[in-house]
Amino acid sequence: MLAKFIYLLPLLPLLAAFWIGLSYIFGHNRGESGEKMTAKMASVASLSALILILIIDLQAMLIGVPGSVTITNWLSSGNYQINISFYLDTLSLSLLTLISLISFLTIRFSINYLHREASFQRFFIILLIFSAAMFLIVSAGNMVLTFVGWEMAGVCSYLLIAYNFDRPIPTTNASRIFITNRIGDAGLIASIVLSFMWIGDIEWHKVLQQPNSLSSLQLDLIIGGFLLAALVKSAQFPFSPWISRALEGPTPSSAIFYGSLMVHSGVYLMLRLQPLLQQNETLLVIIAIFGLITALYGYFTGLVQTDVKSAFIFSTIAHVGLMFLLIGLEFFVLASWYLVLHAIWRAYHFLHAPSQMHNINQAARSVPAWLAQFKILHTASLQRFWLDNISNWMIVRPMNALAHDAQSFDEKIVSRLIGKPKQQYIISSLANWEKNKDTLQMTDKAAMVQGHGLIGSFMEWLASLMEWFEEHLILKSGGEGLLDLVQKIGTNLQKIENLLNQPRYLMILVSITFIIII
């Protein structure tokens, strides 16, 4: 059985990425001359993955699908076991084939396309890690491995959106997307934890076989977490806006991440859960509703898009929405077929985006007159149904305010309670100095050094005293000999003062105080 070599599938691109990164660190493949090496490595890795999966496919066709393949135990603690295991059924095998093919083609495409880009190596490293991540998502035998892939894909997408990290728009978008995706991750983690708790296992093949042992609420919660993750990753309503912000990277990465592969991973997750879903009518209805809303959202928003990539991406999520709808209506097979066909078509479509205007010879058909009457719908579509603004309003701004309050609390209460000194400097300003010079009052000196807490006040007083000492004996004295002497003393005192100002001595002082008290 070749299936036991399935771990090579994610491993090959990872190794290639690692190798490219390592060579880059050691300066072997930098610059234009290094492109060939990188390109070769990436192509070989992705082609080998493709060949491997094709052989496994062949074998599966001849002797049946391998099912669950456990390589080794990864973590075990009491009853909790996490394996490095893979689950190869018809669904995952067909998707693996699709992913390896499209990854290979995208890598080949990018070799010419990214020629002479300063970030050539970086791009390929990320692309390879991304294909490894997709392999993991689809082939993982347990939820934790799926989650690992899920996260790797998220990080890769973050890194590629911020491909032009010297410009503010891509970086802002990348961060926002990354944070949005954390919502889905929370769902995924919750489901994994609940499965551990209630089913006692996270291996897909076991979980999927025993839905009946759970109460319907338990099942709801587990699937609900997965559904949340799927909705976010597949940019379904109301999480759709992130994907339209994601098109800042190079065209091939837009194609593979958002057009073709990653956007479908939510659909895959739902398909994977088919046996559980079929137990649960309510959730199916919910899935169908989300799918339908997204399909309509994508369709209407897509109608007003004027730039190629946005037009394509809204169409993409609309069709992914249709897949959710199909799943909700229990057309699982149809949905998986459509997933494959759609992924292929989007790869083709997105890679042709730069020449879209040369490939057609007439303007887009206008919307029918009856639809054009709904002006508010046009505005809503143009503003993408304000989803971004709503999330600013509901989440981003309240969150910022909360963060500020926490910081104030930290500064005003926590810092003072623990007597942590605020950031300080020796002479605050000339104005201060001038003021002191004029008044020559000890009390005014307080501004020179500020301490907090009880100990702080003591230190403050001590420092001021020394300051006064220095001032009067050294700076104002006339005699030469005295000056020298006092200067020496002054320097030493200054040293002590400096030492005392450092937190560790403060700590020592505190300890001493405690010892004395005790």
């Binding site: 010419n112 109608l303 950031q423």
Partner: protein, 1101 residues
Amino acid sequence: MSQKPNVKTVTSKDIRTQLRETVEHFEHFLPAQASIKDFVHHNTLHGFQHLPFAEAVKAAEQYNGASGFLEEKHFQKFYQQGRINSADLTHVLTADKDFNLEQIFYQNQARQISIKDLLLAMLIKPFKNLTDSQLTWQLEELNAQYCFQDDVSHNSRQTLLKSHQADGGEYSEPAAISRLWEACLEKLELEHFILHPEEMLDLSAEQINKILKMTASSEEENSTQHHGVHRKMQKQAAIELGELLAQVGKTITLRGLLIALTGEDILDEIRPLMIRYVSSYLDQGMASWHQDRDKGFYQSWRTNAHNDLIWLFETLPDWHDTLESLPDESIEVVIQELQYLDLPQNRWSHYLDCLVMELPGWSGMFLWRHNNPGYAGLKDIPVEMMDYLAVRLILERLFAKRLCAEQWQFDASLDMFRWYFRRHRSEFIVRYTLFNKRLPEYLTSQAQRQLERARHGNVETNSWQSLGDIFWTWLHTPAAGGNASYSIFDHAWKLFYLAQHLGMSGAMVRSLSTQQIDTVFSLLGQLDKDKRGFIWLQAYEHHYREQMLNMLVNNKNRGTWKTRSKRPEAQTVFCMDDREEAFRRHLEELNPAIETLGAAAHFNVFIDWKGVDDEQSSPLCPVVAVPAHEIHEKPAPNYLGAYTVHKARYDLRHKLKNLLHQESHRNLLSTAVLIALSAPASLMLLIGKIIFPLKTGQSIDKSIHDFESDIPTDLVANCDTPLDNPGPENRQIGFTDHEQADRVETLLRNMGLINEFAPLVVIFGHGSISQNNPHLAAYDCGACSGRHSGPNARTFAFAANRPEVRAILSERGITIPEDSWFIGAEHNTCDESIIWYDLEKVPQTLQTNLENLKKQIFQASLFSAHERCRRLASAPKKPSLQQAFDHIVGRSYDFTQARPELGHATNAIAFIGRRSLTQSAFLDRRGFLISYDPTTDPDGTIVERLLLANGPVGAGISLEYYFSTINNDIYGSGSKITHNVSGWFGVMDGTNSDLRTGLPRQMIEIHEAMRLQVVVEAKVELLTEIYSRQPALQELIGNGWILVCAIDPDTGDLSEFKIGEGFVPWQGEVSQLTVVEKSTDWYDGLEYPLAPALIAKKGEY
């Protein structure tokens, strides 16, 4: 202008005229790039062309912040490579009246240093301004005070060490250099302490007194008032506030003011809205749903804004009030908004200039459509720049208002800012310093916290004051720059660096007089960034020009076809395009009996062309002209039946294409079916196109060809019933006999082709076909508005073959022999293929000649492909002809290629004259070749015409490449790989950026940024006369946008045009050039730009 009576009329009527004039003025600095489907090269700084080059780039820099010259490090690299040498620099500096090169700067027994040495040292080495921390790094980590700088040459090191020794020092590097560093400090009366930012406020009493003294004004010095510092800080705040507010409407807008005071950019919120509205309005066919576009942009926006819920979620409570109070005319909105801002009226125009420059690409596109109404059949969509300004101003106010309310609870008007900050000067100084000056990190974080607290309203009143005092103090510490006349990290460091390169020892520096020191710094001051850039540029150009002029001298009397003493085997006319230079050269090498000529590829046939498959006609002529004649293509008489089949299939194929590429993202359910059906085929195509581009491309082409079965066609180019007054609005179909003769005659006379017509005369138009390339039009024929010029060639040949036309020509003195036949063709500059037109009409007697010629042309295209490969990184090295050709063709089919061809990337020079000037010389695809025979043009009418027509075209191409190369971020469009085509009119980076104009980085990588050299073969007197009567040429040449030389047709003497002097004899040196057997011997296997060489002659012609 109809003014509504109820509108507040505090403004005069003049202000409306003024605003309209402002809008007219925008085209002087906004990018004037056409919609990308009709990309035509133009001078990026066209709006500044009335100024001399150096001044123009400076003026432009004020608008966009882009320097007008290549970064100096590139020039310094060229210097190291020998592509610029000190002779070139000296030449330029000598011509500069600011400098007296021969003057002695320093002299002792052993050394003599002239101003020239000084200047060269200052130019050749990178004179960087160090910051305090960079200097600290140099001294602490790199030990700069004990060792030479890395880039000091061996000679300078030796000189310095020896003279240090001669002055009694020890022959050692650390000793000599540390002595030098001390000398530099001492000479400038500076002391150096290494200060770290945290220590900068740790001032000694002495320093404090010094600062206080330095900053004290005369009246204060005797005053005994307390808290003088605080008062000074307040005073400075008032001054800076005044300056900042004065900048509004000069260099910044309200947005700039807010950035300066809050660090927040309201454009981040406005940009997406503006892009959505504007691109939806300007869209040329991408989206399916637009709204109210017939009512103008402003009204269309109002409808949208009325329905928009953004005010709710983004807390813009004034949204609806604002919308309701808006006047109906956009110009009134502009006035209202500017009044609302409290901006003095005399700054309005400039305020709007600044405003449109915040999104230059989008503003430029809007303006372009404003100036080209009815573009692309979008006649019903009025585009008024005033609408754009109105919407932009309304959005600016709404978002500025929100920000101001959050920060200070006041309204966004200048008066409010003035009122508030006059009362809160400490706050001003903190904010202003934080966002506009360099601060150490610990102060920055203090200030940021303070701002954050202020925003949430919990800030103690005096905390602004103390922070303001601290900032003021910091700004006056020596480390922050202080007020001293000489500074360590600027002056002392530069002197130190310069002395090392000049090999001056510490003692020598010490012996410099104050006057000499002043000379050094005044020279450094004179050599500012722009001046240095311009000197380098001229030196770079000088080097190239000397090479080319030297080539002309060497090539004197070597080139063939100076006079046609016998009939050539064939004559081929190509576009003047630099890409055709190699093609022509190789063709001549293959068969010296062929004469090649060059002309702008509209071939003087300005037409509106409608091909047999076209739905609409498109103009094939320079972009400044509008054709008055239409030429149609129709199926040949015997093929009407075949045509119906062809047409049906052609339409079917395009319907399918539209279905796949457009409907597939437009609909929902039908699209799903479409996707499901087309996915398998698209997978096959994707694999084929990515893995085997050449094979796949060829078989796709072949199957299209087989499917559609192209049919022979004829031209509808004759007009029997001429219109009285044909014009753009009243186009005539076809030309009359006389019109045809006029056009044929003009071109032939332009080229000097009026005798000894060869049996075959082939006219080559050109175009470029590549895959997946938004900038496709940029590779096409610039003389035909970025389209293919084959139809012009074909129409020309059609006319020149007609006996009626020939009869008229013969009356006018041009006799075309009966056995001469003209053929039209099109050269695809991307894959080097040739389309031949109307070959079936070629007389039987010429068939053998034709076959031979076609073979030779094919050979030439192999060589042309071969020569192109040398500059392409992914092409095989030293390829065979076939390998090279396969690579080039494969490239054109490869949809993964961001560089299908390199376009005009190598253009540098234009020759207007006989081919004999340059024939048998290797020009490296860098020359525009325009045929002109001065012997047929005694009074200069032809050369005048050529200069007027081709000068701007050549300059446009060359300058677009120039500017896109020197600053690809601002003048160019950045990398293609993140480009996203918007509305079919331009590209953005990602989905939310400004429109990127200019050339993408992939097109300019190998370009050498220099102005176009033009060499004209004509008498100097004639050219001077033409120059003096043609304002267009005075602008172009007199302002230095192109550089002109003349070569005397009789004697071959060379002269250069110097601005302000006119033509002066060339005084360069002549050196021998290498002679090679054939071009390939000179270039094969080399990637870099090559100097000219001569190619051995074969036979006498």
